[in-house]
Amino acid sequence: MTTTTTAGPAAARRRRRGDVQGSGRLAATLLSPTFIVLALVVGYPVISAFRESLYQRGQGLDAQGFVVQGDKFVGLRNYTDIFTGPNSDAFWNAFWNTTFFTVVTVVLETVLGVAMALVMHRAFRGRGLVRASILVPWAIPTVVSGLLWRWVFQADGVANAIIGKQVLWTTEGFHAKLAVIIADTWKTAPFVGLLVLAGLQVIPREVHEAARVDGAGAWHSFWRITLPMVKPVLLVAVLFRLLDVLRMFDLPAVLIGLHKDSVETLTMIAYDEATNLRYGPAAAYATILFVYVAVVAYTFVKLLGADIIGDMRQTRASRPARPKRKPLAAAREVAA
């Protein structure tokens, strides 16, 4: 694509005529390093993790007390154990926690993020300062913010001082979930805000002016103009947040602690299994999470039509293309 645009119209015409056979192969050749790298850093780990999930490592001891070495092929047993074995409670609990965190934090972050973006978009004195300070939480590494919030939520911490009664936030219970949600929202709402702000800034001012002339109120023009026009960007931000929060690990682990059932997520179980040298089950948990994330992302894209690779569609639209193409398929076609 880049070559076409940079090489000038004459070159482009020439290239397009030869498109029939030449440039497809050239594109494939030029892109092959990317595919090789992708295969190495994405394809290989996924396949190897799946392979690992079909094995179990020896845990038994021999007469002298030594661990019997060697991996054993167990087929899908690691998976069936997860769903129906003695630890299935832990899995369903973590699955529920993960889903709960995902729904609640993404909704909160979207609402707050949009609000933040609207504030940041306004022209007022000190706007630069507000923008910068709203982004501070996002710039702090998650583990550090986990520790900060741990101090806020400790028995004699700020949170209890503000609400005026003693809640032991880091103990098991709904309050632990709440603490994680508050900390996560604090940290990542600015991310949504930043992306939405970028979307707001490309909305031409005339549209709003025209709406005002036609007598639209603030709410009306937000609902009918701002939101639809910012929707593509907003959906991408929400999708990113979904993918991110589904694999949440460090915040609950640092803020509340490992092995606390109220906040245990799927990644925490996978981590725990791996720490205890049960790589097979750990890989199985990770694979299940991977599939879950993929399904959620796919459904989201399907249902809401999030346009991940927006410019691709625009390029296609400029030609008389079939209208209802999935953006990802379009991308693939362009790549080929």
């Binding site: 845990q59 001891l61 007469a63 002298q64 007390g65 030594f66 661990v67 520790l147 741990r150 400790q154 028995a155 004699d156 003693q166 032991l168 880091t170 103990t171 098991e172 640092v254 602690g257 490992l258 092995h259 606390k260 725990d272 720490t275 205890n276 040298l277």
Partner: protein
């Protein structure tokens, strides 16, 4: 990183055998001698351990390197968190890498590392084990073979406020739980007793020490779990009732070592179960300095049995130059080195005689109390799958402490859970 470093400190602790016999130095009843590979090869080696916080390990290595220019030691610092140290050592073993020669093992890891053949058995006859604290030696043993030489040790102590006790007319710190409860009744206006009760390794320490102090044991001599007993119930009840009656303040359920220390130094507690490291820090805390002392932990009918912590030195099975490694371990666990390490880092030594040296006692007034505690100390359950064991313990005890289950339910559940985990 505070919480992680506290965990590291908490994981101070233990493994251990339950076969007591002070004569464990003899090693004559070794049932199965693991192919004791000769420790051969001389040349440069490495020492893998957590952060060298005092800088003294590097200093001691420098002294060694000067004397052994052909067999130099290089210090490899691993992350501060104990879990991550273990993870890196496990990875090193699984790739059969020779990068780490001498491993600084937490006392609870010995069984796992030995059973997986990640560390080589050490020749018992080349160490004078009778000079070491017996409990510390046990933490380095697995199935009667020595896999790790005792290097640093640790045991819980009862920190108490001298001034508050005096004001209430109490002449001596409590020796039993009932004395502790009576004393708590006399001192009003502050939280009375606390330990480390958050759901982490510290809870396992506090629980096994309560059970041991009531005359029970979490895992018996043959390695079978034994928590469904009246003694274990009395131990756990001491903690559960403590929370119920308010003797232990509610927020103690969130305490790790540093939280407990802060509460003590703020003057919120009369008694605190804590590791020796707090002595030096609290001696500088404005509100409590000069006003506190330590005593052995109380128990059901007399002094309690604290949980043992500490670190031992082992040799990786996949390393080169094991003869040098053995010499280096002997150097690190020698009297002079351990004394110097105590002075520089205030980490408790494993050689019994050091606790009696007047010069050291003058600098560390808690040494005699610590020695008495260490002689009574019990290791945490020794298990190849220690991580699973400690998780199961934390799960059950935490549920009991927070009132989610009764003591009986918790212990019965724990008993059945530990069964398959401790099969050896």
């Amino acid at each position: 990183m505070a919480s992680i470093s506290t965990i590291a400190r908490g994981v101070v602790a233990v493994v251990a055998t339950v076969t007591l016999a002070a004569a464990c130095g003899s090693g004559s009843k070794t049932k199965s001698t693991p192919t004791s590979q000769a420790l051969t090869g001389r040349g440069p080696i490495t020492l893998a351990q957590g952060k060298d916080t005092s800088g003294n390990v590097q200093h001691q290595i420098d002294v060694w390197n000067k004397a052994h220019p052909q067999e130099t030691v290089r210090l490899i610092e691993l992350p501060e968190s104990a879990d991550q140290q273990r993870q890196q050592m496990v990875q090193n073993a699984q790739t059969k890498s020779d990068a780490y020669t001498v491993l600084n093992l937490d006392v609870v890891w010995t069984a796992e590392f030995a059973a997986n053949r990640w560390v080589t058995a050490l020749p018992k006859n080349q160490f004078d084990l009778s000079k070491f604290l017996p409990a510390a030696v046990q933490t380095g043993e697995y199935r009667d073979n020595l896999y790790a030489a005792p290097w640093k040790t640790d045991a819980g102590l009862l920190y108490y406020r001298k001034d508050l006790l005096e004001k209430a007319g109490i002449s001596a710190p409590p020796k039993t739980w009932s004395e502790l409860q009576t004393d708590c009744g006399k001192i009003k206006g502050v939280g009375c007793y606390a330990g480390e009760f958050d759901k982490y390794e510290g809870l396992t320490c506090n629980f096994s020490e309560a059970v041991d102090s009531a005359g029970g044991e979490v895992v018996d001599e043959s390695g079978k779990p034994n928590v469904n007993t009246p003694q274990a119930k009395q131990g756990l009840d001491f903690l559960v009732q403590g929370f119920k009656s308010g003797m232990i303040p509610k927020e103690a359920i969130t305490y790790e070592e540093e939280d407990a220390r802060r509460a003590f130094e703020k003057g919120d507690l009369v008694f605190l179960r804590q590791w020796p490291y707090q002595w030096a820090l609290s001696s500088k805390a404005p509100k409590v300095k000069g006003k506190f002392d330590v005593a052995p932990l109380p128990g059901l009918n007399g002094p309690g049995s604290p949980t043992l912590g500490g670190h031992n030195l082992a040799i990786s099975s996949f390393a080169k130059n094991k003869a040098t490694a053995l010499d280096f371990i002997k150097y690190m666990t020698s009297q002079d080195t351990e004394r110097a390490n105590l002075l520089a880092s205030s980490e408790a030594p494993t050689l019994a005689s050091l606790y009696d040296e007047p010069a050291l006692q003058k600098k560390f007034p808690y040494l005699p109390t610590l020695k008495a505690s260490l002689l009574n100390a019990k290791p945490r359950p020794k298990a190849v799958r220690y991580n699973d064991v400690t998780t199961a313990i934390q799960e059950a005890v935490y549920a009991a402490l927070t009132g989610k289950s009764t003591t009986d339910q918790a212990l019965a559940g724990l008993q059945s859970k530990l069964g398959p985990l401790t099969q050896q």
